[in-house]
Symmetry: C2
Subunit: 226 residues, 2 copies
């Protein structure tokens, strides 16, 4: 017999999935606003952020109702508290999209600077992919998929460091580009933060799978070390 | 009669408090490493981050045990899930302390740049205060204290914007300071992130107090708007 709690958990996951799509869209639009020099598109990202925030509150409320009503044990409980944590991560990714959109509006007021297009397209792709992959890994409780995300995060860190170095060098030689250069560094940093948040989700999925063993291991280390 | 669950909740809160002290100390040491040009102190912050991470795992585990064992309803349940969320926020503040320490090590390799000392001392003070205040507001369920934090966050945003503008201007005139200037901008940004995380905690405290009314209000808005 199918448990009623399973239907409710599915509803919770569906909402989380929709929230994830919204965040992914916000990121894609913020970056498209950069590539297409389209500040209206950036403005639209700012306006729609409230929708992401409302999802967080809705999911938070539903999650608490589920715990109170069904008093789930072990795995179901952890699924729900993880969902609450992930909505928080998604909401913060949405904030990063807003930060990017704000910087894009500044950049679009200045003459175009083509030299970093390729790196930023790559970063945007990796970030979007990581958001999608981390949510899928959670939905499918697939810790192999989750491990791939940790590798993607290394790729992202590498590009971010490179972009930082390149723009630092460029600004040393062309200080007149300071406004655009600083804004690009902040956008690169924002994308790297999105990747970090997706990595948090992936780590939770791995943790959920390995569960007790890992925790005992850590507890032992803590008792020995601190 | 005192409930056993109250003892357990107190234990949870004590751990959270200790974790908060560690994070505050990490921030203070990272900023002292900047003011005193002491890279050994910055290195020590990097080394001790693992302690903060271990607290997060311990509190997370204890929180889940409490929910599974006592099946707490309404307010107690929300206190526990909020504690889990706050440990996550604290862990991220710890990461910001690490980011600051890394930039301090870069800055200390370059000639000193005195001009922004005052703003950074102010930001460091406000950030530390906000971490402390937000935890106290949570411990005492004091939503008046929580509201003060929202004002402190506005102060922080103001200083951060000012620092960003000033360093941008300085770098336009003195591009030779690019390495130090960019690192200072990132530190300012990190401190502003700490303030944001403390503000999240404060918002949760206000939300816990106002509870159902706010949520209904938001749900109505959502049904009308989206």
């Amino acid at each position: 017999m199918k448990r009623h709690v399973d239907d409710e958990l599915k509803k919770l996951k569906d909402k989380l999935f929709k929230m994830g799509l919204l965040v992914e869209e916000a990121l894609d639009h913020a970056m498209a606003a950069l590539f297409e020099r389209d500040s209206d598109k950036a403005q639209a990202v700012l306006k729609r952020d409230q929708e992401v925030n409302l999802y967080e509150i809705e999911i938070d409320e539903l999650g608490h109702e589920l715990i109170a009503l069904y008093q789930p044990a072990a795995v179901d409980l952890r699924l729900i508290t993880m969902t609450l944590k992930i909505t928080n991560d998604l909401e913060r990714m949405g904030d990063q999209a807003v930060n990017i959109a704000e910087k894009v509006i500044i950049i679009n007021q200045e003459p175009p600077l083509k030299s970093f297009q390729e790196e930023f397209r790559k970063m945007a792709d990796v970030a979007s992919q990581m958001v999608r992959d981390s949510l899928n890994a959670f939905m499918e409780k697939d810790h192999e998929k989750a491990k791939v995300i940790l590798e993607e995060d290394d790729v992202m860190d590498g590009i971010n460091d490179q972009v930082y170095e390149n723009i630092q060098k460029m600004l040393g030689e062309h200080p007149e580009n300071i406004r655009v250069g600083l804004s690009l560094i902040m956008i690169s940093h924002n994308l790297e933060r999105v990747a970090d948040l997706a990595t948090n989700i992936a780590e939770d999925v791995i943790y959920l799978k390995r569960g007790i063993d890992v925790r005992h291991h850590i507890r032992e280390r803590r008792e020995n070390k601190i």
